[in-house]
């Protein structure tokens, strides 16, 4: 009952303070808006707001960011569905089926499913987070060292290689290109300059935000521009018919499976919601009877990915609050909020600032619930963006993307990288390669190399050391099995 009482106390503290309510509502709306405006994302908003949190109390600052996190992960789904522009990497799989649904005139259904599932996944995950933060965090930090994280990255990449590309080989080549791009900059062991081609700005490495914006948002604009040139452009049909409750209940297993996957992936530091969404989607495909429907606009794809990534939000708070280990870009910024107030997230926070923790927990719970209410309203308005003639929407999206990619690190090279990624994406999309695979490779590449190097250093460069670590071994075996299955399928599968 302790948990419940703490939750009640947190709720009372949250809603008895007018400024707190204001910030809560601001965060809910801001996260949704920035998630849902094509070209910018919750990360843009978070990067912009970070310096201002110095003027807020620590409770308000952290609460604001956690609320933005919950609603922003949902908001990113809106643009993924309507424009094929995932607001954040964790929304990329949502676009696989969400965008085809929009082209089929089912935008309303897709967005409705995203609203329901985000709220559900997020709320359940918030509840588990309240109950289990301390014990799970302790387990994760002891059991998941660099060898395990490397093995998990490998497994994640092996799984993702079978999503989104036309063939197994193209799937792997896409991921490998992502890994290759991640190498540019300083190496993660000795800080040695690699593939900088004597351009100092390249030493900063290639960030995934401009890459995502370029591959998805900018390349989509080029494709639409091409259709404009030939006169084959047609505006997507609007629809506001939301899915019925029965339709959602029909997918209850997908929802439960995605909650479990999302929560588990979210706990792991440095992996977080992105892998959660990819794995949620991929498992949905694997468990399905009619796999051929995926990628054409199947609601289950949207449901699986959106449930999983929101389920990861609560889980990501566990290593952050209990151990001070951020799981992704947004939680890393939350560390910044803590530090601006001379606090450090970690075991101490639970002792010294239990109030803060529970205000944040209840804020996240209610933020997820409010996705349901405000999400419906917002969706009905934001969907009208599709009515704007594309030649006017395009420059707006391009400018927003410019601001969005620049605001993350303040480097103009990020804008250049974004637009080059747009051009590359435009041509790669003609060829059956997977842009999502490149992005995943880029995001996980550096973690992968770093944890591999750390694992080797820890295991004294003896590869057999993996055998002494059961979790790492199991993940590696699973990864190789996935790989072997795909190779077998590529060569020996009979065409039907």
């Amino acid at each position: 009952m302790d948990t419940f009482n703490n939750f009640l106390n947190g709720t009372v503290t949250l809603f008895s303070d007018p400024i707190g309510i204001l910030i809560f509502l601001g965060g809910v709306v801001g996260g949704m808006l920035f998630g849902a405006i094509p070209g910018v994302s919750m990360l843009t908003l978070a990067a912009i707001l970070l310096p201002f949190t110095a003027h807020l109390s620590p409770e308000h600052g952290i609460m604001l960011f956690s609320v933005i996190y919950c609603t922003g992960v949902y908001g990113g789904a809106i643009t993924a569905i309507l424009f094929n522009i995932p607001g954040a990497p964790e929304n990329a799989p949502t676009a696989f089926d969400g965008y085809p649904m929009t082209r089929n005139g089912q935008a309303g259904k897709a967005v409705g499913a995203a609203v329901m599932c985000s709220a559900l996944g997020g709320t359940v995950s918030a509840v588990i987070m309240m109950i289990a933060t301390a014990p799970i965090a302790n387990w994760a930090i002891r059991s998941f060292g660099p060898p395990e994280i490397f093995a998990l990255v490998f497994f994640g990449l092996a799984v993702a290689s079978s999503v989104g590309a036309r063939t197994f080989w193209k799937g792997w080549l896409s991921i490998l290109v992502g890994l290759l791009i991640a190498i540019v900059g300083l190496d993660p062991v000795g800080g040695i300059e690699r593939w900088d081609f004597n351009m100092p700005y390249l030493l900063a490495g290639i960030h995934f935000i401009p890459a995502i914006l370029g591959f998805f948002a900018v390349s989509e604009i080029f494709v639409q521009a091409e259709k404009k040139v030939t006169g084959s452009y047609r505006a997507p049909e609007l629809s506001v018919d939301f899915p019925s409750l029965a339709e959602l209940i029909a997918h209850k297993f997908a929802v439960i499976r995605s909650i479990l996957i999302g929560f588990f992936c979210g706990i792991l530091p440095g992996i977080g919601a992105t892998l959660a969404a990819f794995m949620g989607y991929n498992e949905a495909v694997r468990w399905s009877k009619d796999r051929s429907e995926f990628g054409k606009g199947k609601m289950e794809g949207v449901i699986s990915s959106e449930t999983a990534n929101n389920a990861a939000t609560g889980a990501a708070m566990i290593p952050l609050l209990a151990l001070g280990l951020p799981g992704g870009a947004l939680t890393a910024m939350m560390v910044g909020v803590f530090q601006m107030h001379d606090m450090e997230p970690g075991p101490l926070v639970f002792i010294n600032s239990a109030d803060l923790v529970w205000v944040v927990f209840s804020a996240m719970f209610f933020a997820n619930l409010s996705i349901l209410l405000i999400g419906w309203l917002e969706t009905k308005t934001i969907i009208n963006l599709l009515r704007i003639p594309f030649q006017f929407l395009a420059p707006l999206i391009l400018c927003l993307a410019t601001v969005g990619s620049y605001a993350v690190r303040g480097l103009t090279i990020d804008i250049i990288v974004m637009f080059i990624a747009g051009v590359v994406g435009f041509f790669l999309r003609r060829s059956g390669y997977s842009l999502a695979g490149i992005v995943l490779g880029l995001i996980l590449g550096r973690i992968g190399e770093q944890t591999f190097a750390q694992a080797m250093q820890m295991l004294h460069f003896e590869w057999s050391g993996f055998f002494g670590r059961p979790i790492a071994l199991a993940l590696l075996v699973a990864g190789f099995a996935t790989l072997a299955g795909s190779i077998y399928g590529a060569f020996f599968r009979r065409r039907h």
């Binding site: 036309r166 594309f390 601001v403 605001a407 190097a453």
Partner: protein, 237 residues
Amino acid sequence: MGNLRIGQIVEAALWITLVIFLFAYSFEFDREIEIYKYGAAAWPRAILLLIFIAALGQLLQQWYRGDEASSDMMEKAAEDGAHEAAEEAHHNTLAWYLYTFAISVIPFAYILVPDWIAAAMGLEKPGLHVAKLAVAALLLVLFIILVRGNQLGGMIALPVLFAAMMQDLGFYALAPFFIMAVMYLMGERRFGRMLIISAGIYAVLLALFVSVLYVGLPTGNISPFYEFGTGMVTILQ
């Protein structure tokens, strides 16, 4: 067997060229690190090797099985209309690719050429700035000439050019022209409407990000663009 098309061989050749080029470049950082015996080049080379294998594997499979998707699911996932749009517009001919490539070189010319001129003539910062402005003007004229025959190519190259000039000339001065140019390349020809909507987009962007959220957008480094950019910031904040 024997199902290869020219395009597939070219594709494999491109992959292998990339691998060889990057492998050659990896000797630049092929150093051992005192606490890590594999050194800085091991991981990149392992990935290059895997790319090499995958490119050959793809070629082998195409030779063996033809151009067939690995599974129906994967076939569907890779279809998003981009390929069809290209075919319809006849934007898949060699001539079109070459033309587009020529336009796309312009932004990179802006990044590289002024530095070459400065190095060749031993210019200091003020001289470099003059060189940059001159090159920028020249390239813009070239861009406008080339775009007349390839609107989509222009649309593709324009944002990169916009970004390449951003550090020197600033967001504030470039954005209005960029917005107008995108509309033009998207086929809009009603200039009154273009002016009003561009002004609207520009105003909304600046009001939201600069006035309300205090984002420091690039002001540019070269006079008079620098003064214009910082002046705008001072007015807006």
